[in-house]
Amino acid sequence: MSFVRESPLPLSRKDFETDQEVRWCPGCGDFAVLSQVQKLLPGLGIPRENFVVISGIGCSSRFPYYVETYGMHSIHGRAPAIATGLKLARPELSVWVVTGDGDALAIGGNHFIHLMRRNVDLKILLLNNRIYGLTKGQYSPTSDFGQRSKTSPLGSIDRPFDPVALALAAGATFVARSLDVDQEHLAGVLRQAALHRGTAFVEIYQNCVTFNDGAYDSLTDRATRDDTRLLLEHGNPLVFGKGRNRGIRFVGGEAQVVPLGQNGATAADCAVHDALAASSGPAFLISQLGPPDFPVPLGVFRAVEAPTYDELSEELGRKARAASGRGTLEQLLATGTTWTIE
């Protein structure tokens, strides 16, 4: 699906751990994400000093302090803009943005969509716990309709955002979703994101033990998870359920659950996931699946190649130099009509 850059330097997970005391609540889903990132980075063949982690504000935005690379813990919602500026200055760096549902989708919503459409070559991990954690328990743009929280004691009347659908609609070239506790799945998705050229967006369902515990229980509970998850695999039919007994098909743009083995229905009757489709339409249809009638899709929704913003920006400079030459300050200052006074 993406090009692989395997030339491991002698780096290990230990090289990416800092001496800073991690200040997340015990049991927080953020630990699992941090651990996967620290496992992933050493194997990417990139020198440690070329990684930069940039975050905004919120629990997840503490992330840079715990990764032994360059990093900036910036201001609320603005990490995508800061990361974009950094890539325009230094396209050769591997830049990772870590954000949350409030940071990316409320105060930083504008930067988020523009990052997606520009396709700046950076990775953005959205740790979605559907609640404001650092400010201690107010509802967020991804909280369920009706959710009770400190600022919605009577139930939230906000309809939630779906970050995956938003990213797709904004034109993102790589969109994926995973789950904090499913280490294997998360590792796989993060690895594919790391290898993508362009903006790679990964939504990670992350449990907040303190203010929204159990938000993803039905997806993690062994008893229910086979029926509630749809694991996306490029080129394979959309099949889920205990014993893979159900599938998804689309009729006139509407999703239907197909019971497999009944009335002669087989996996061949289900929609086949095409993450490489030129249009984001098929991925968008899949992003609309979810409870109560459908399982939650996890995995890579979309992964397509497109010119990156930083690459195009460098290209502008190269083309301008090819057309006008490098340019000297002497020439520039004397541009236009000049006159000489003796």
Binding site: T18, Q20, P47, R48, E49, N50, V52, I54, I57, P64, Y65, E68, T69, Y70, G71, M72, H73, S74, I75, R78, P80, A81, I82, A83, T84, G85, L86, K87, L88, A89, R90, E92, L93, N110, H111, H114, S313, L316, G317, A320, R321, A323, S324, G325, R326, G327, T328, L329, E330, L332, L333, A334, T335, G336, T337, T338, W339, T340, I341, E342
Partner: protein, 610 residues
């Protein structure tokens, strides 16, 4: 060529072109300036245009004006009042009349004085037919009709013909002032390369306007101004916004470091982004961000990456950038923020001049959040200020606010092109040595080290949370916070020792020191020169560094008995001088969206010192 007998030799002339925003008055004014510039006159211009792109034709709020003063000596302002007004319609006449000298010449496009246009301008009777203009020398010329005649048979549509009217007015103005027409024709052909039919039409109309002056004999006198005896060298015309753009490219060239501009279009600052976007063949990257906040944040990201981070805006945008500027203060990254001030508050007067963001620049952030503040005094001075802003930002690892305004941003003046070797060098030293590296360790200027990501062994994290004095780790320690607040303030205060000695024009001590900043320079300078010539003990000090104040400021103020501060606000520098220098200050304040006039400053000087 026929000329009337009378040729008046003048020291200086003020001309104002006024018409509908679609009448091409800015172009006519620009061309007239180019003509006098290349002849070696001192000049200064002031374009005034409505914020509506195409306001309804003939209305008062659709009037666009361009004023130029040119002279046989150095010119500091576009002039208080016009000697010659060219008014293309009744609305332009009505709006410009208060700015015409009594006895001044007015050429009106009589073809546009229709009943409908008179009504739109709010005239109940035709001013060309009553005696309301008796204090002026009025010359009605049917510019609309004569332009149509000149282009009869050209095949151009009525609308296209109408667009050439400004060249008739320009041709006539050039004739009245003994300007050669050939340069102008060459320039029109250059300007409209690729559209030969438009060039041909404009040249025909220009010639027609020029010939009209010759043929009609209605003008009893023409005017001649001698060239100004200015310093020898190569000159060009430049606006403040252009000079800033060139200054920032110079900063990139002089430091050998990439310039990254993150900016969102806003009047009257957009021209800086536009100019730099066309200079990508230099080591320049421009980024039109999704909003003002992304503009400054992308510049901060670039600065973290080791580039020269720059963001440009005007008042409303400054408000939005405030939080991010605080981040740059906290992370101690070099960054330049340009505020081309306009009338405020809120959307205010987007295309008009004001200087009311000084206190915001110095104090307008949460927390103890000091940073150096500079202000440019003239279009040409913008070039030097751009380099100076980055010199301070790099040397002290701090964001710097550079104030310009809508007056100097869009006005043009002649600029003596500097020799590149005469420009200051900007030395950038990134730290690469991992030995004993502490993120907030400081050098003799109290600046921390600039480390580019990608440097092995120096991996570190910075951010908006308070930092430990040395390690840069997050710290909530009480004593550490006070120490950090104090060291950030001390670092900015230290810039005061790094400023050239102040220069006073006029009297060096005595009755009155007039202290200004920013675009009021021209009006104050001319008024002080006048007063000084009259034998008054008046000096002029114009401040470039507004935070911190230069170390020798107190000493200069003490040499004078009184201090007058003229400003386009309600007294912001005056307040700072009282607070920081403990001097009594007399004020002159104007907040009308228009520049100070020489007469206003001179009058106030007489009141205070006379």
């Amino acid at each position: 060529m026929h000329r009337p007998q009378a040729v008046e030799e003048l020291e200086s002339v003020v001309i104002r072109f006024a018409g509908d925003s679609g009448d091409g008055m800015q172009l006519a004014g620009d061309e007239f300036s180019r003509s006098v510039a290349t002849a070696g006159h001192g000049f200064a211009t002031r374009p005034e245009y409505p914020s509506e792109i195409r306001a309804p034709v003939g209305t008062l709020f659709g009037v666009s004006g361009y004023q130029i003063q040119y002279s046989s000596h150095e010119v500091f302002t576009p002039g208080d009042a016009a000697d010659l007004l060219v008014a293309m319609n009744p609305a332009a006449l009505k709006l410009s009349l208060p700015d015409v000298k009594p006895g001044g010449m007015i050429i009106v496009n009589s073809g546009a004085f229709t009943e409908a246009n008179l009504a739109k301008a709010g005239y109940t009777s035709n001013p060309l037919a009553d005696d309301s203009l008796s204090h002026y020398r009025v010359f009605p010329v049917d510019i609309s009709g004569l332009t149509s005649q000149a282009l009869a048979g050209s095949g151009l549509s009525r609308k296209e013909i109408g667009r050439s009217r400004n060249f008739f007015a320009l041709g006539l103005a050039l004739w009245l002032h003994h300007r050669p027409i050939d340069d102008e024709i060459a320039d029109i052909e250059r300007r409209f390369t690729g559209r030969p039919e438009v060039a041909a039409a404009n040249v025909a109309v220009l010639r027609s306007g020029y010939a009209f002056g010759d043929a009609t004999e209605i003008f009893p006198v023409t005017y001649r101004v001698r060239p100004a005896p200015v310093e020898s060298g190569r000159y060009r015309s430049i606006t403040g916004n252009q000079a800033l753009a060139l200054g920032f490219v110079a900063a990139a060239e002089l430091s050998g470091v990439r310039l990254v501009l993150g900016s969102y279009p806003i009047t009257p600052a957009s021209e800086i982004l536009q100019t730099l976007a066309a200079l990508r063949h230099f080591n320049v990257v421009t980024f039109q961000a999704e909003d003002e906040i992304a503009g400054v944040c992308s510049a901060i990201g670039a600065a973290f990456g080791g580039a020269l981070g720059l963001t440009t805006t005007s008042g409303p945008g400054m408000a939005l950038k405030t939080e991010a500027i605080g981040l740059a203060v906290m992370t101690e990254l070099p960054l330049v923020i340009v505020n081309v001030q306009r009338g405020g508050p809120s959307t205010g007067l987007p295309t008009r001049v004001e200087q009311a963001d000084l206190l915001q620049a110095i104090y307008g952030r949460p927390g103890e959040c000091p940073l150096p503040v500079l202000a440019a005094r003239s279009p040409a001075d913008c070039f030097d200020c751009a380099i100076e802003a980055f010199r301070i930002a790099i040397k002290y690892m701090t964001p710097v606010i550079l104030l310009s305004d809508g007056g100097i941003g869009t006005s043009a003046e002649p600029w003596r092109i500097p020799a590149v070797e005469s420009l200051p060098r900007l030395e950038v030293k990134y730290r690469t040595d991992p030995e004993d590296f502490r993120v907030y360790q400081r050098d003799e200027n109290l600046a921390r080290a600039w480390v580019r990501p990608g440097t092995p062994g120096l991996e570190h994290r910075i951010g908006g949370l308070e930092k430990d004095f040395m390690s840069g780790d997050i710290s909530t320690d009480a004593a550490n916070h006070q120490r950090m607040v104090e060291v950030r303030a001390a670092k900015v205060a230290r810039v005061a020792q790094d400023i050239p000695p102040l220069h006073v024009d006029g009297a060096q001590s005595g009755d009155l020191l007039v202290v200004g900043w920013g675009s009021t320079y021209g009006a104050i300078e001319q008024a002080v020169v006048q007063a000084h010539d009259q034998g008054m003990g008046v000096g002029h000090l114009h401040l470039r560094h507004l935070n911190p104040f230069p170390a020798d400021l107190d000493g200069v103020l003490k040499r004078f008995r009184r201090v007058l501060v003229p400003e386009l606000n309600l007294g912001q520098l005056a307040r700072l001088l009282r607070e920081r220098c403990l001097v009594d200050v007399v004020q002159l304040n104007k907040v009308q969206g228009r520049p100070l006039t020489v007469a206003e400053v001179y009058q106030r000087i007489l009141e205070v010192a006379g």
